[in-house]
């Protein structure tokens, strides 16, 4: 009951503006795929083309191997959870959930049973007679999910389903949605601009930028091995440091980073055949110690800003020999050593060589 989706050169132009440029992507049956990108990148247009609300200017969309490009939305076995939920205000919760079944002419007895099942699935038993305006944000989201999955779609599309919720609730609903997807084994395609959401939920993430796919892969790969500087910068925070190959032997490559740090890195992490590129240094990879004289391999830096976040602190450190280069570092937010890492303190920075990633594209 769940099916694969294949985007075969799908593109969308509005006059002179290209919203999506010839995207090729296969989403496996039962997979949880997230389209992640900034607003205006074309991710929503992609989703709307899968739902059938927009017709692609080029390419085909295949569902379970069948071409559905020309099929109108009301005949596609695909349902959507809308941004802001788009619940029908004149219908009760039951009326909303039953809507799709009514349109399909499901007989009353079966309809009642399936609506009950769907409400139970999202723990809304007993709220069937309420109206949307009598529900909390989280309950509304559940109604939207129940209304879509009750139709047993082959693919469920979710357009920013958490954007109307506050932070605490967002966490809880995220976990619920993931559990639901596992239980139903349904193909989920989620659109979001929130990288935390994408990393936490997805089997694979497709990072979209300017109407094209920048990188498609599992969350860990997207985070630890970004393909482009856009991905490195959009997913999590990244310090992009110019890096230069200065030698190498026996499976390792000697690299000098801007700011003077010299490291021996595994050869497989360095893009083959390149003399220089940029290193992706995640803030949590930067190891900070109070400066106690000359040490190697460590750079000398000055703390210029501290942002306290409770469980951790974000520090801006300016490298001594980096021509004004500033790094962002994350440090546990304990009380004991706060003075050692206050603004104006001198620190030694280290970067473990084995897990450093270098951009293949430069």
């Amino acid at each position: 009951m769940s099916a694969s989706i294949e985007l075969d050169g799908v593109g969308k132009r509005y006059g002179a503006f290209t919203a999506v440029r010839e995207v090729r992507l296969t989403i496996a049956a039962g997979e949880f795929l997230t389209l992640l990108g900034p607003s205006g990148c074309g991710k929503t247009t992609l989703l709307r083309m899968i739902a059938g609300f927009e017709a692609p200017t080029t390419g085909r969309i295949l569902l379970g191997g069948e071409d559905i490009t020309g099929i109108p939305p009301h005949r596609r076995p695909v349902n959507q959870v809308f941004q802001g939920y788009a619940l029908f205000p004149h219908l009760s919760v039951r009326g909303n959930v039953a809507f799709g079944l009514r349109m399909r002419g499901v007989p009353p007895a079966e309809l009642g049973r399936r609506v009950d099942d769907a409400l139970a699935l999202v723990s809304l038993e007993g709220l069937g007679e309420r109206f949307p305006h009598e529900l909390s944000g989280g309950q509304r989201q559940r109604v939207a999910v129940a209304r879509a999955v009750v139709c047993r779609p082959q693919v469920l599309l979710l357009d920013e389903p958490f954007s109307a919720l506050d932070a605490k609730l967002r966490q809880a609903m995220r976990a619920e949605l993931q559990a639901l997807q596992r239980r139903l084994g349904m193909t989920f395609v989620l659109v979001t601009h929130d990288q935390d959401e994408a990393l936490a939920l997805s089997d694979r993430i497709a990072v979209v930028n300017a109407g094209a796919l920048e990188q498609v892969g599992p969350p860990r790969e997207i985070y630890h091995r970004p393909a482009t500087d856009f991905v490195a910068d959009f997913v999590g925070h990244a310090n992009l440091l110019p890096a230069e190959r200065i030698g190498g032997s026996a499976g390792r490559i000697a690299v000098r980073l801007a700011g003077g740090l010299e490291l021996d890195v595994p050869a497989e992490r360095w893009p083959a055949g390149r003399g220089a590129t940029r290193a992706v240094v995640r803030p949590e990879q930067v190891v900070l110690r109070p400066w106690r004289g000359e040490e190697r391999p460590a750079g000398r830096a000055l703390v210029t800003a501290v942002e306290f976040r409770g469980d951790r602190e974000h520090l801006q450190v300016a490298l001594r020999e980096g021509g004004g280069l500033t790094l962002t570092a994350v440090h546990p937010g304990g009380e004991g050593d706060a003075a050692d890492f206050a603004v104006g303190a001198e620190v030694a920075i280290g970067i473990p060589a084995d897990h450093l990633w270098f951009l293949p594209g430069g």
Binding site: G52, P89, S92
Partner: protein, 292 residues
């Protein structure tokens, strides 16, 4: 959801400033609505002497006269004409309002202007224009003669059809504007959601669009039906007083027959009818929160 601004308690009493700002409206309502309505009610309970002067008193005789089949028939006919007018306005006006609200902003502004343009001319002038169109030697018959020279000129003016045409023409904007407002407020995502859930183009209308634009329809229907029942100018000019409606009868009682008390009783009866119908409509209002 972003935290909503603190909502004012809708039951809160207005402050001094609010009363000051409301004062002109309240004075206007009192002077020109409440006082005349009370005068009308008082007058309807009186009698008239042989010179047409009102003798104040308390008698229900005028209301007893209302039960005369002649007046009942006129009442029913008026309601029938108004209902037909309202139905036609709805049939013509709803699609116009719907497409108006869904048109591109620039087109929409132009079309809205076109809906309003008739208001720039006096209502009477517009009704006389219809006489010029519908007359035996009028524009419409000239057109017919040009297309089909064999046809005899059609007798259009001074018929019930002419009256209904005039009424529909006059009141159409009053239906279009409130329906337009409610369609404009309709969230396009709801229509998409209905499509997504399997509703084809024809099923979206009765299941989603119609119920959500009901407040606009109710407002428009009221704005057309109520004045259409009591209209007398259009019926006089286009109907030639051949099919008197309640508005004409009331006008006659005041101006020709000089029987103010009976005219007042007719007016009060009409007012009571509207009040009852509004209360019924209110009681029938559905429970779901309609955005309107």
């Amino acid at each position: 959801m972003t935290p909503e601004p603190v909502a004012r308690d809708p039951g809160a009493r207005p402050g001094t400033l609010a009363w000051l700002l409301l004062a002109p409206l309240l004075a206007w309502l009192a002077l020109f609505v409440v006082v005349p309505a009370l005068l009308l009610l008082g007058c309807s309970l009186g009698e008239r002497d042989e010179f047409g002067q009102v003798l104040w008193g308390f008698s229900l005789e005028n209301y007893a006269r209302l039960l005369d089949p002649v007046y009942l028939r006129i009442f029913l006919r008026s309601l029938g004409f108004a209902a037909l007018t309202t139905g036609l306005c709805l049939l013509i006006g709803y699609p116009v309002a719907y497409h108006l609200a869904r048109a591109a902003p620039r087109v929409r502004e132009l079309l809205l202007l076109l809906v309003m343009v008739p208001f720039w001319t006096s209502f009477l002038v517009r009704t006389y224009a219809w006489m010029a169109i519908l007359r035996e030697e009028g524009l419409l018959n000239a057109l017919v003669a040009w297309l089909q020279p064999a046809w005899a000129p059609l007798g259009l003016l001074y018929t019930p059809a002419a009256v209904v045409t005039g009424l529909v023409y006059s009141y159409l904007p009053f239906l279009i504007l409130p329906v337009y407002a409610s369609v404009e407020k309709l969230d396009g995502a709801l229509i998409e959601a209905a499509h997504d859930l399997g509703a084809g183009p024809w099923r979206v209308f009765p299941t989603v669009i119609l119920p959500l634009t009901l407040p606009g329809i109710a407002a428009g229907v009221t704005l057309v039906f109520v004045p259409a029942v009591a209209m007398f100018a259009v019926t006089d000019l286009l109907g030639g007083a051949r099919v008197p409606l309640i508005g004409n009868v009331i006008q006659n009682q005041f101006l020709q027959a000089r029987d103010w008390p009976f005219g007042a009783a007719l007016g009060v009866a009409l007012l009571g009818l509207f009040l009852v119908s509004q209360l019924v409509l209110r009681a029938l209002r559905p429970r779901g929160a309609l955005r309107g």
